[in-house]
């Protein structure tokens, strides 16, 4: 209820401001439609423009912060100039130096500008150039792509793997190759936008189950199999369950053993999107299959990205040889999208080699230790934190939209960069601050960050977890 009141107040102020701007004060010049297009149908609805102008633009300085160094544990952020209405005017020239980075996806600390990976990337640029200018089918199939694919298949423990130029495009262009009309897709409620787009474009029937709720998933499976296709009542050609390893806004880990049990019972296929979990979960960094000690060949389609744990960019799909061969011939990305740029592919390959070596084990243990420490301390402070104990994605609930803007600004003033998310990425009442733990952060940096978070939590009265009292009198039983 508090949230709705807060939102209503913000909107009320917005109306008031617009009214004053129109009738009393001269407003600042803002972007508007060209003169000769005034008779055209308006491009945006009135509410859209109102919402963006009065709600989102007020908090615009906490998003899109420009970084001017390597996105490692410590970054420099350039300060930006904004007009009083929130319009971006340019850079001021001032730089916030040595800001501890709690927001970038750098789980294993491969965002480095020196070392083995960076040297190999520089060499790859010199030998192969930056651009490929062609798709995989034509002349864009370099040897480095095949090497990366073989190594990735070995790493994951599956038969074959195929790489793509962009993680988002991997989902949105390959799901239509796997399912189509007459198929059923059952996806988690909190799935990523790329999965939603891929399912929509494919033309399959989509059903959504409550986030990580296996009982709801089973119920939907049973009902769909019994009822069949909604119009023809025929049985489905294929049933595909789409889940993610770690959900980026919730921090939860999927209940994989239960999903596999249901898949075997109802003869469905499983598509596992490991964008965040590959490299960050499991004793050997092999992702959520390693974490639960499940044989990776039991998952039909393993998908992931190189952006988060490998410090590169692009995506891959891995699985049985027949599946990957089918994708090599039919994927839209292979035919119409350019292949990965050579230095980026080289970075992914070098970081894979490092993960599979002794140094990789150190990074994995450091990440796990950092995650545990961070989550444990936040809970003892009394914050409401979502997600599982081992997930390096830590969302801290702040609820009100104004709270998240204030939190981000206060943290930056203390030298910490955090990421905040509100409506519409999250439900209206659940704006949150999301921390991404990295193995590049030292224990001291984490402890100092926790102190700053605790400080701000006291000022903003965010320590509202009911479990706080239980922590004071003894260890909380899980």
């Amino acid at each position: 209820v508090r949230n709705h009141i807060a939102m209503a107040i913000v909107l009320l102020f917005g109306w008031l401001r617009d009214f004053l701007n129109e009738h009393v004060f001269t407003p600042e010049p803002s972007a508007h439609e060209q003169e000769d297009l005034k008779d055209f149908v308006p491009l945006y609805t009135t509410f859209e423009r109102f919402f963006v102008r009065n709600v989102i633009e007020r908090g615009y300085d906490v998003l899109h912060r420009p970084v001017c160094t390597v996105p490692g544990a410590v970054i420099d952020i350039r300060e930006r100039k904004f007009s009083s209405s929130g319009k971006f005017l340019g850079l001021t020239g001032k730089v916030f130096r040595n800001v501890v980075n709690l927001g970038s996806y750098n789980y294993l600390g491969f965002a480095q500008n020196e070392g083995v990976c960076a040297d190999a990337a520089v060499k790859a640029v010199a030998e192969l150039g930056t651009g490929v200018c062609s798709n995989r089918f034509e002349v864009g199939n370099y040897e480095i792509h095949s090497k990366l694919e073989r190594k990735m298949a070995e790493f994951l423990g599956v038969e074959d793997c195929m790489t793509f130029g962009m993680g988002f495009a991997t989902n949105s262009m390959n799901i239509p190759c796997l399912v189509g009309k007459g198929c059923l897709v059952i996806s988690d409620a909190c799935n990523h936008a790329s999965l939603a787009i891929g399912c929509k474009i494919s033309g399959a029937t989509i059903r959504v189950f409550k986030h990580n709720d296996m009982k709801d998933l089973e119920k939907i499976l049973r009902h769909s199999i019994v009822e069949g296709h909604p119009r023809t009542y025929r049985s489905w050609k294929k049933i595909l369950i789409i889940v993610e390893g770690i959900y980026s806004m919730e921090g939860t880990i999927v209940n994989l053993p239960e999903v596999i049990r249901l898949k075997k019972k109802y003869k469905a296929y499983v598509y596992l999107d490991e964008a965040h979990s590959i490299g960050s979960l499991g004793s050997r960094a092999r992702g959520v299959t390693d974490y639960f000690d499940i044989d990776p060949t039991e998952i039909d389609v393993l998908m992931g990205t190189f952006t988060k744990s490998f410090g590169a960019s692009g995506g891959y799909i891995a699985g049985r040889r027949e599946l990957v061969e089918h994708l090599r011939l039919n994927s839209h990305s292979a035919c119409y999208g350019v292949s990965m740029s050579p230095p980026v592919a080289q970075q992914a390959l070098s970081s894979l080699n490092v993960i599979m070596s002794e140094e990789g084990k150190e990074r994995i243990t450091q990440l796990a230790a950092n995650t545990r420490l961070f989550r444990e301390k936040l809970r003892t402070f009394g914050f409401i934190v979502y997600g599982h104990e081992d997930s390096p994605v830590v969302p801290l609930l702040a609820y009100l939209p104004s709270h998240i803007a204030c939190f981000s600004r206060e943290m930056l003033a203390r030298g910490y960069g955090v990421v905040v998310a509100g409506f519409p990425s999250t439900p209206l009442g659940e704006s949150r601050v999301r921390f991404c733990i990295s193995s590049a952060l030292s224990k001291q940096q984490i402890l100092d960050a926790l102190e700053a978070i605790s400080d701000i939590g006291d000022i903003m009265r965010l320590k509202i977890s009911a479990k706080q009292i239980l922590y004071k009198f003894g260890k909380l039983k899980k």
């Binding site: 972007a31 508007h32 439609e33 060209q34 000769d36 008779d39 055209f40 149908v41 491009l43 945006y44 998003l63 899109h64 912060r65 420009p66 970084v67 390597v70 996105p71 850079l91 927001g103 970038s104 996806y105 491969f110 480095q112 500008n113 960076a118 990337a121 520089v122 640029v125 010199a126 150039g129 930056t130 651009g131 490929v132 200018c133 034509e138 002349v139 130029g165 962009m166 988002f168 949105s172 262009m173 990523h192 936008a193 790329s194 787009i197 474009i201 990205t305 952006t307 490998f310 410090g311 960019s313 839209h332 119409y336 999208g337 350019v338 740029s341 230095p343 980026v344 970075q347 990421v419």
Partner: protein
């Protein structure tokens, strides 16, 4: 085995340019390789802001936005503006990315014959008559025309002057997809608007690609600030995807610098394309499909018999 490369779309030869390679290597030493985040969450680097500014200056528009993959550019830009209930007029031979963007937008799609402006005009007239029956609905139905500067599937150039005329006559917004024509058409490589000498403000939005002429990865959209800033919140491939690796953005900036310094690149490309096409057209059993000045064209066997025979040919 060494072969002459007539297959990749490396129009200006920047894929092996030493200056671009040096600046990209320097960028790795400063920023590393990956950007480790989407644009909204510490994935924006100063090279991205520089690249957007350079592209806007180069094309003569107010504002530009960068995507990390060429395919995702137009496939995210179209659904950001055109929703269920709106109308899209799309060329039959448009590329796959446009088709996917149009499909994802859930709007009503009307295909017109390839590069046939009369067919487009008749379809626009039909739509206008239909809307005349329901005045209330027509006030909120947005209409867009999506065309390519240089068509990937046929090598033809669109008829931009006629399109601009139709835009103002029937009040339909114009989106031009310039993946192939950016860095190819026009005296200084600014694309199809320069080729036809039309002010760039007449086109509502230009979507281009950094993957062909600029030998990098990614794509951009440019236009007026009013139109482009909308994509920073609602372009799915921008908001929900990691940003372009800094070294590739730096490579693209360097490529634009070279394009501005060496004007003769474009006339050289044009003359080579014309010469090669003339030679090929002389072969009796081959039919060439494409504009005579275009560096992209298709060759077909005249009097095609069957698929197997054509493949052997």
């Amino acid at each position: 085995m060494q072969c002459k490369n007539f297959a990749s779309l490396n129009f200006l030869g920047f894929a092996e340019n030493a200056r671009i390679i040096n600046s990209a290597s320097g960028c790795v030493s400063k920023y590393g390789v990956g950007s480790c985040g989407p644009r909204g969450f510490y994935g924006t680097f100063d090279v991205h802001l520089d690249l957007e500014k350079r592209i806007a200056e180069f094309t003569g528009t107010e504002c530009a936005i960068i995507y990390s993959y060429g395919f995702a550019t137009v496939a995210s830009a179209i659904p950001a503006y055109s929703k269920r209930g709106d109308v899209l007029f799309v060329d039959e031979a448009s590329c796959f990315a446009i088709q996917k963007g149009v499909h994802a937008s859930r709007s009503k799609v009307i295909y017109f014959k390839h590069n046939d402006m009369d067919d487009l005009e008749s379809k626009l007239k039909q739509q206008e008559i239909m809307e005349g029956n329901d005045a209330k609905k027509s006030k909120v139905t947005r209409k867009f025309m999506v065309v390519e500067g240089l068509y990937m599937n046929t090598g033809q150039i669109c008829d931009l002057p006629r399109l601009v005329e139709l835009k103002y006559k029937y009040k339909v917004r114009l989106f031009v997809e310039e993946s192939l024509s950016f860095g190819v058409l026009g005296d200084t490589g600014r694309g199809v608007t320069e080729h036809f000498n039309i002010p760039v403000e007449k086109v509502d939005m230009i979507c281009g690609s950094l993957e062909y002429s600029l030998a990098s990865t990614g794509g951009f959209c440019c236009g007026s600030e009013y139109i482009i800033t909308h994509q920073r919140l609602s372009g799915l491939g921008y908001v929900f995807s990691a940003s372009l690796p800094p070294l590739l953005a730096r490579a693209a900036i360097e490529a634009i610098d070279i394009m501005q310094e060496q004007h003769d690149l474009f006339s050289q490309l044009k003359s080579k394309a014309v010469k090669f096409q003339n030679l090929i057209r002389k072969i009796a059993s081959i039919e060439v499909v494409g504009n005579p000045e275009s560096p992209v064209f298709h060759i077909r066997r005249k009097n095609s018999v069957s698929n197997e025979e054509d493949l052997k040919f």
